[in-house]
């Protein structure tokens, strides 16, 4: 412990120099804007800004790029709560209860608890980087393709919990999402799959058109059909911050979300989206009244938002200590580190202590800046909901289509967004849930790759490899139990006299 505080204080001294502080401020500000604006994800933004950091001091460049990443994760929840458009895959789960809270006039508490939860999750994530990096890094090294597949499969089985009363409906949406994720050129054999002979589908369907269409446009088309006349789809916003009751209901979900997010974030494949999904399932499972979920339960916002940000911070552990990026954004950050001549890995702490501790300290500072920035903005964001829905919904349509076009400057993306909007409308009209589809779509390609890699590395080419390794075997058994528990329970209920 004494060995930590001295370098950490030194890290703060480095992070608080005007250049580095400005880089953190700029990074989280850009990240928040990116998170809020549709279409511009952190991956694309970091890729665009990466060359711009070459002229900068290496540490300032890395601090800025890291700030963009966790700032975007922070900002992504705002549009999910206010207009049902997830800015990021990790914010998909927030749409479920966050948007319902906004419709009930509780956008302020939803945004507030999301900001506080994100702050707590993010800050504890940084503490974890500092304290348990070496230990966690060892666990992460044990995560090969079979373990990754087991983790994804476990997350997939939890998708059923997002689907209200019918697990079958949730799983159906999930399988549809996995299939949509399989469209495009096969990574291993280079064969086109289900591309209908089009160039566009060779790269696969983009997450942004899919999510914005299913959630944003689908909701608007549904409201147009259902509204008799000008009615407030949104109730007038009431409180701006979480009440004492909200805090009571959120404190445990925030605690659990922090631990879950950290545990998942450090694992290869442990994306923030997986953490938020598992957190939602856990909160629904432990809730006294699980039927409140999907109808505006604050726990459904607090837990996943915390887990999402804790996982974002946790992802820096394998990146900095092992040089293993656990998702595409961290892969770009790895590229940024190497571009600046810093090789992440077990020796980073000894060879470049200023970089390691400077980044860690800047993340503390960045999280505080985010909280200070976001809390006063809640009042402003909530004002958006006071705009009559008959004006707000066309404006949302404009932002969704603009965001889709901005991705690749392609009208095909706009068309695909509209097609998914139509699908989102059908899903909503017949009481299915779009969230399992989107999350499975994100998990799908990684799940397939780890599945195929596992079989290739298995000496006999058999699925026994998944059960013969302790971590993957345990995860798969838990996943199978999760999947079949409702059926067994139903069976026992019907058999009991």
């Amino acid at each position: 412990m004494p060995g930590i505080f001295e370098p950490l204080l030194n890290g703060f001294a480095i992070a608080l120099t005007p250049g580095n502080f400005l880089a953190a401020l700029l990074g989280v500000l850009i990240g928040t804007i990116i998170g809020i604006l549709p279409g511009l994800g952190p991956t694309a933004s970091i890729a665009l800004l990466l060359p711009a950091t070459i002229g900068m001091n290496p540490l300032s460049g890395i601090i800025m790029l890291a700030g963009i990443y966790y700032g975007a994760m922070y900002g992504g929840s705002t549009t999910s709560i206010l207009v049902n458009i997830p800015g990021e895959a990790a914010s998909v789960v927030t749409c479920i209860d966050g948007y319902q809270m906004a419709k009930q006039g509780r956008a302020g508490p939803a945004l507030g608890i999301s900001a506080f939860g994100s702050f707590i999750g993010g800050t504890f994530g940084v503490v974890a980087i500092m304290l348990i990096s070496p230990l966690l890094a060892e666990t992460a090294l044990k995560f090969g393709p079979p373990e990754r597949f087991a983790l994804f499969f476990f997350a997939f089985t939890l998708i059923g919990y997002l689907a209200g009363k019918s697990m079958a409906r949730g799983l159906l949406m999930g399988v549809l999402g996995l299939f949509l994720g399989a469209i495009g050129t096969d990574d291993i054999h280079g064969v086109d799959r289900f591309t209908l002979g089009t160039l566009y589908l060779r790269d696969g369907i983009g997450l942004v058109p899919l999510a914005m269409g299913l959630f944003g446009l689908g909701e608007i088309l549904y409201n147009i059909e259902q509204r008799e006349k000008e009615v407030s789809v949104m109730a007038t916003p009431k409180d701006l911050l979480p009440t004492r009751k909200d805090w009571r209901e959120s404190i445990w979900p925030i605690g659990r979300g922090t631990l879950l997010g950290l545990g998942i974030g450090i694992l290869p494949g442990g994306m923030p989206a997986v953490a938020s999904l598992i957190s939602y399932a856990v909160e629904k499972r432990v809730a006294k009244n699980p039927e409140r979920f999907g109808k505006g339960a604050i726990e459904g916002v607090a837990g996943p938002e915390t887990a999402n940000n804790a996982a974002t911070a946790g992802g820096f552990v394998p990146l900095l200590t092992l040089g293993i990026p656990t998702n595409s954004v961290l892969a770009l950050l790895l590229a940024a580190l190497m571009l600046h001549g810093v090789t992440p890995g077990p020796l980073l702490l000894f060879k470049y202590p200023d970089v390691f501790w400077g980044v860690v300290a800047s993340m503390y500072i960045g999280n505080i800046i985010l909280l200070i920035l976001n809390l006063p903005l809640i009042g402003l964001f909530v004002q958006i909901l006071k705009v009559p829905y008959s004006l707000l919904s066309p404006l949302i349509i404009m932002f969704v289509l603009l965001g889709a076009y901005a991705l690749n400057n392609s009208v095909t993306d706009v068309l695909v967004t509209i097609l998914f909007g139509l699908l989102g409308y059908v899903i909503k009209r017949y009481h299915f849930e779009p969230a399992p589809l989107v999350l499975a779509f994100v998990l799908g390609p990684m799940m397939e790759t780890s599945f195929r890699q596992s079989l290739i590395m298995s000496p006999t080419g058999s699925i026994a490899i998944f059960f013969s390794r302790p971590i993957s075997g345990t995860l798969l058994i838990i996943a199978i139990l999760v999947l079949f528990l409702p059926l067994i329970r139903q069976r026992l209920k019907t058999n009991s006299p």
Partner: protein, 151 residues
Amino acid sequence: MPSIDRIVGIGSIAGGIVLAVFSWQLDLGKWRIPGPGAWPFLLAITLSLIGGWLVFRPQPQTRGISASIPRWGKWAMALATLFGYVFILEPLGYIVATLLLLLVQIRWVEDRPWTTSLLTAALAAVISFLIFGLWLKVLLPPGIIPIRAGW
């Protein structure tokens, strides 16, 4: 009235069979080296199984299909405008196409007065162009108004 779960279930079984055939044609490979069709084939089987689950165990409270769409005229107009936007975006350019899209949505789909509709549509189209086109340098199509965004 048929249950939605049953209809979706039958559709899923049929869809699963079709996908399985296409996946088979892609080459399933072997257990040791799975081919490009192996994963979609597994998904197709799972899809059919879940379809069967929905057919044989539908949710009891699931409502039947209601063919009536309460405001189908407005709904169809909104959808047609969205598809129309795809076709006019590049020839007319971002500002004009967005103005038209918003005008139709606000004036006819949402039944707002002319002045509110025109003013909101024009302001939103121009302001979003300034933010995304000029400030964020997104390459928005100029169309008939020769202002090149993103430069």
